[in-house]
């Protein structure tokens, strides 16, 4: 929130830890700017703030629908897309492995947004109940799976992650 700025033609962002300069067209949203720069995992589902396919994790604001965010407002921000879930060696995150193992993804269109909703939840709540997971997915529309496997996958991933159990519960 530094000084005023008007109609900048580019913004500096840090996407999944990599600094990047994003060109922005006047009046465009973060979703549109990210996709033009090749970040195609940020899906354009409904383009009106309902489906959650364009979810990103935006700095301190946390989980956000990028189709509702003016790109110009993101200068200096950290942006996490689903690629940010991979570890340094490019291995899948436990959330992603559980989604694969449990058939929680079918057509896949909604999945980047769903995974980020799950990831955001696990940052806030390391031992989420089924109800908390359903609530966290309330802003994602999936037309294929019926959500059941997604909820189970998030719960299973939570159990695998460190800090999921009280510290006294033994080794890991």
């Amino acid at each position: 929130m530094s000084q005023e700025k008007k109609s900048a033609d580019s913004i500096r962002v840090c996407i999944n830890g990599e600094r990047e300069r994003l060109d922005i067209e006047p009046g465009e949203t973060l979703m549109s700017s990210l996709r033009r720069a090749g970040h195609y995992s940020v899906k354009n589902g409904c383009d009106e703030g309902v489906c959650g396919a364009c979810n990103v994790i935006l700095g301190e604001e946390g989980l956000t629908r990028s189709c509702l965010v003016p790109a110009a407002s993101c200068d200096g921000d950290d942006v996490m897309t689903v690629e940010g879930l991979l570890d340094d060696d490019g291995r899948l995150h436990p959330l992603q492995e559980e989604f694969l193992d449990r058939g929680a993804a079918q057509c896949g269109y909604c999945i980047p947004g769903v995974l980020l909703s799950g990831y955001d939840l696990l940052q806030r709540d390391t031992v989420p109940t089924e109800e908390a997971i359903a609530d966290a997915l309330s802003g994602n529309i999936c037309r294929c799976t019926g959500y059941v496997q997604q909820i189970e996958a998030i719960q299973a991933a939570a159990e695998r992650l460190p800090d999921a159990e009280p510290a006294a519960e033994g080794e890991h």
Binding site: R35, G52, L68
Partner: protein, 289 residues
């Protein structure tokens, strides 16, 4: 997919800076969470020349106790309001309304100020603020203006704010039981929502305020329902009679009708949810004023 928002975008650092921008020639809209405004821009419902982003003005955020009531800054998000012990203890209907908001992101990003400025029939906070007798505070070129919720919601797509004014906070008075309930469509928006506020003395209702959103294009009070309740006891029979009175409070000719629910359906929902809101308010804890 580009050029859906105005070309000019400004981040404002203070309320004074916002007022200066609003006083200019450009047609300006305020953006905070973006959940009300941006979809309207994309649909072409509004076509301003300039966006002024107020999300960095921290003075507009937060919940506090003030003058025998609760003060909520315009930028406070629904999830913060829903989680606030202060709001739960002193303005329960608003806690319940903000807790009902659509989905996680909308709750986490959407602000009470944006919700009240747009005051869509699908929104949750309007009926609660109206039933609770809230005051909406705006600042403009001539200083501060305090507007009763009743005068605030004044027509379809219309609130009492002037184009050169900024909503800065809302104030909710203490001293009543209250409750809120709604029925929602698949997207998580409300179809019909009802909030009730009851001043009670023992089992007796001294006065009642009941408001509905989603019946008419803007939230309204239900005077016949309120009259039926005043001076009576809070029993099932009285609540049922009060809910029946709702049918006479809503002019069938002006009911909202769309692809989600037609007018007749909405009228049935008003009665049913009126009764449920009264039940919730009657079992809610009494507030010491």
């Amino acid at each position: 997919m580009s050029n859906q928002l105005p070309v000019e975008y400004v981040e404002a650092e203070s309320v004074d800076a916002v007022l200066e921008l609003l006083a200019g020639d450009s047609e300006t809209r305020i953006v905070a969470g973006g959940y009300s405004l941006v979809p309207r821009l994309k649909d072409g419902i509004e076509t301003p020349d300039r966006l002024v982003d107020i999300s960095g003005i921290d003075a507009l955020r937060g919940i506090s106790r003030q003058d025998g009531g609760t003060r909520i800054g315009a930028l406070t998000t629904h999830d913060r309001i829903a989680a606030s012990a202060t709001v739960r203890d002193h303005a329960r209907a608003l806690a319940e309304a903000t807790d009902s908001v659509g989905d996680y992101q909308a709750k986490h990003q959407g602000t009470i100020g944006g919700n009240l400025v747009v005051a869509d029939p699908k929104y949750d906070a309007p009926a609660a603020v109206l039933a609770l007798g809230g005051t909406i505070v705006v600042r403009g070129p001539n200083g501060r203006r305090r507007i009763d919720a009743e005068e605030w919601f004044c027509g379809p797509d219309e609130t009492a704010i002037e184009p050169d004014e900024l909503l800065t906070e809302i104030a909710i008075p203490d001293g009543a039981r209250s409750g809120y309930i709604r029925t929602s469509e698949y997207s998580g928006y409300a179809i019909v929502s009802v909030a009730a506020r009851l001043e009670t003395d023992g089992g007796l209702v001294e006065s009642a305020r009941v408001a509905v959103n989603g019946a008419k294009p803007y939230p309204i009070r239900l005077p016949r329902v309120e009259e039926t309740l005043a001076g009576g006891t809070l029993d099932d029979e009285r609540r049922a009679r009060a809910a029946d009175a709702a049918l006479r409070d809503v002019d069938p000719g002006t009911l909202v009708a769309n692809e989600v629910a037609d007018g007749r359906h909405r009228l049935g929902l008003v009665r049913s949810y009126c009764q449920q809101a009264l039940e919730r308010a009657s079992v809610s804890p009494a507030v010491d004023s």
